[in-house]
């Protein structure tokens, strides 16, 4: 792999950028791999990368039914934060945050990680109690968080209407929170994993698992059987479909979640502002578009498009909170299928089938966890035992009752 640097940029500009090397190969699948990862989203690609880089397992394939990053990774509003309530969540999201902070260097790929600061607005006494409890819990876990008064919010976002219908009463700020470029995360991990020998196989759908005596032996795909000593399944909204192929059920339901972006405008919003209770999430991309996260539909669906009423319910609060945006045009709107658990925490787990691991249930908010999730999942697959950070997120918690209830911190928040 040719390294990207200022020199390679200059060298290639002389040739009118005609000679850039392909970022990753498109190999024919081998007969067998040590590990097959199903799903070429950020989490799957990160898993493959850390398997090769940190676990010494390079005979790995990532099998993706469409194109890499075409699932929720390429559809999300790119918010990154680690201010969750429970210790288990702090464990995984802060692990991810630390990896984010060095990710561009590590991958030699600019993922445009920008710690521009992230505000959670509170609009009621209950919201104030929620951010109070959560802010202090986060603090005890050594993660940065600050309480802001409405005046301080106004100082950060001068055009916000704090006296709106549900007035802004305060906010929780995570300065290390922010955004990253979603596509770059998928591409950066793909390129770095490929350079370490990982095969990235696109346009190849997994249609079944081959199992013998309850041990997985490989995957049936649209391009034939591919053998595997171990399989890691990272397919987000489609996880129940894959689980059914393997003969078990998951405590998950899949819902459409939508987002929309506006026409590009000059820089106006230099942080991320989230409001759980009136449901308005907004940031500005480097291209200048306002990136707005909408809600999820309340019915199960795999259709990758949500209801129009959800857009209306999102745009209303945005305009109430930021009257200055009321005449902006929205350019694009889309949906992704999110895999939601009842406690709003993910599953990183062994399954009833030996050597078959699942990493899913990230629902509406897993982009931020991509590096941490891939990292601990890789170590868990390599060792055959769950990494301590991943351990609490087993499927069994829905039978033992040890739920990790992030309903308030995550709910539909990203």
């Amino acid at each position: 792999m040719n390294r990207y640097s200022i020199f390679s940029l200059i060298r290639n500009s002389v040739n009118y950028h005609q000679d850039w090397q392909r970022a990753w190969r498109s190999p024919e699948p081998k007969k067998e791999y040590d590990v097959v990862i199903v799903g070429g989203g950020g989490h799957g690609l990160a898993t493959a990368y850390y398997l090769a880089k940190e676990c010494g397992i390079t005979n790995v394939a990532v099998i993706e039914k469409g194109w890499i990053g075409g699932g929720n990774t390429g559809r999300n509003t790119t918010i990154v934060r680690s201010n969750y309530l429970w210790d288990e969540s702090a464990g995984i999201y802060e692990h991810a945050m630390k990896l984010w902070e060095n990710l561009s260097t590590d991958l030699n790929y600019n993922v445009m990680f920008s710690q521009r600061g992230l505000l959670h607005l509170a609009h009621s006494v209950h919201d104030m109690q929620e951010i109070g409890r959560r802010g202090n819990a986060i603090h005890l876990n050594g993660i940065d968080s600050e309480f802001l008064s409405p005046a301080q919010v106004k100082e950060m976002v001068p055009f916000i209407n704090i006296n709106c219908r549900y007035p802004v009463m305060g906010a929780l700020l995570q300065k290390r929170g922010g955004t990253a470029r979603h596509d770059a995360v998928a591409w950066g991990y793909a390129r770095a994993a490929d350079a370490l020998g990982v095969d990235i196989i696109q346009n190849c759908e997994v249609t079944g698992f081959r199992m013998e005596n309850n041990v997985v032996k490989g995957v049936e795909t649209s391009r034939g059987f591919i053998g595997a000593k171990k399989v890691g399944c990272v397919v987000a909204g489609n996880c129940s479909v894959l689980a059914e192929m393997a003969g078990f059920r998951l405590p998950i339901e899949s819902f459409p979640l939508q987002a929309l972006v506006s026409e590009p405008i000059k820089p106006i919003l230099d942080c991320v502002v989230m409001s759980g209770s009136i449901h308005a999430y907004i940031s500005q991309s480097d291209k200048g578009e306002l990136v707005i996260g909408a809600g999820s539909d309340t019915y199960n669906s795999y259709s990758q498009r949500g209801g129009f009423n959800v857009i209306e319910e999102t745009v209303g609060p945005v305009v109430e909170l930021y009257p200055i945006f009321s005449r902006m045009k929205m350019l694009r709107q889309w949906g992704g299928i999110v895999d939601v658990t009842v406690d709003r925490s993910p599953l990183i787990s062994k399954t009833p089938v030996d050597n078959l691991f699942f990493n899913c249930g990230w629902g509406t908010g897993g982009f931020k966890a991509t590096p941490g999730s891939g990292n601990v999942f890789a170590h868990s697959i390599a060792r055959g035992e769950m990494h301590p950070i991943a351990e609490p997120f087993s499927i069994n918690r829905f039978n033992s009752g040890a739920l990790i209830d992030e309903g308030a911190a995550a709910a539909v928040a990203h």
Binding site: V241, R249, S254, S301, Y302
Partner: protein
């Protein structure tokens, strides 16, 4: 946006209703004998079907009655509604992802 047919009020805009997940999950009767395994499976685990899904809806902003809907979760096509207590209709549409119906 979906158009849902309430068995009592007829076809209405989806925003009058709310959806409450998979239908026909019977609460076990021998609750004192259930293991954690069985309780967890009953409370949390779902089919999350890609294809024909039988689900519960309630007409919140109408007659406030509950009923069931058969819908294809891949295409969002609705096959029909039926009242509580009625058997789920058999849908012979293929429930493969390709089912566009």
């Amino acid at each position: 946006m979906l158009v849902i047919e309430c068995p009592w009020c007829g076809k209405r805009d989806q925003t009058e209703f709310s959806c409450h997940g998979e239908a026909h999950i019977a609460r076990p009767l021998n609750t004192e004998e259930l293991s954690e395994e069985e309780w967890g499976n009953y409370v949390f685990f779902r089919s999350n079907t890609k294809g024909v899904h039988y689900e519960r809806w309630v007409h919140d902003h109408g007659c406030r009655r509950w009923f069931n809907v058969a819908r294809n979760t891949h295409s969002d096509h609705i096959y029909g509604s039926y009242k509580p207590g009625e058997a789920a209709p058999t849908i012979d549409a293929p429930d493969t992802p390709e089912a566009k119906s």
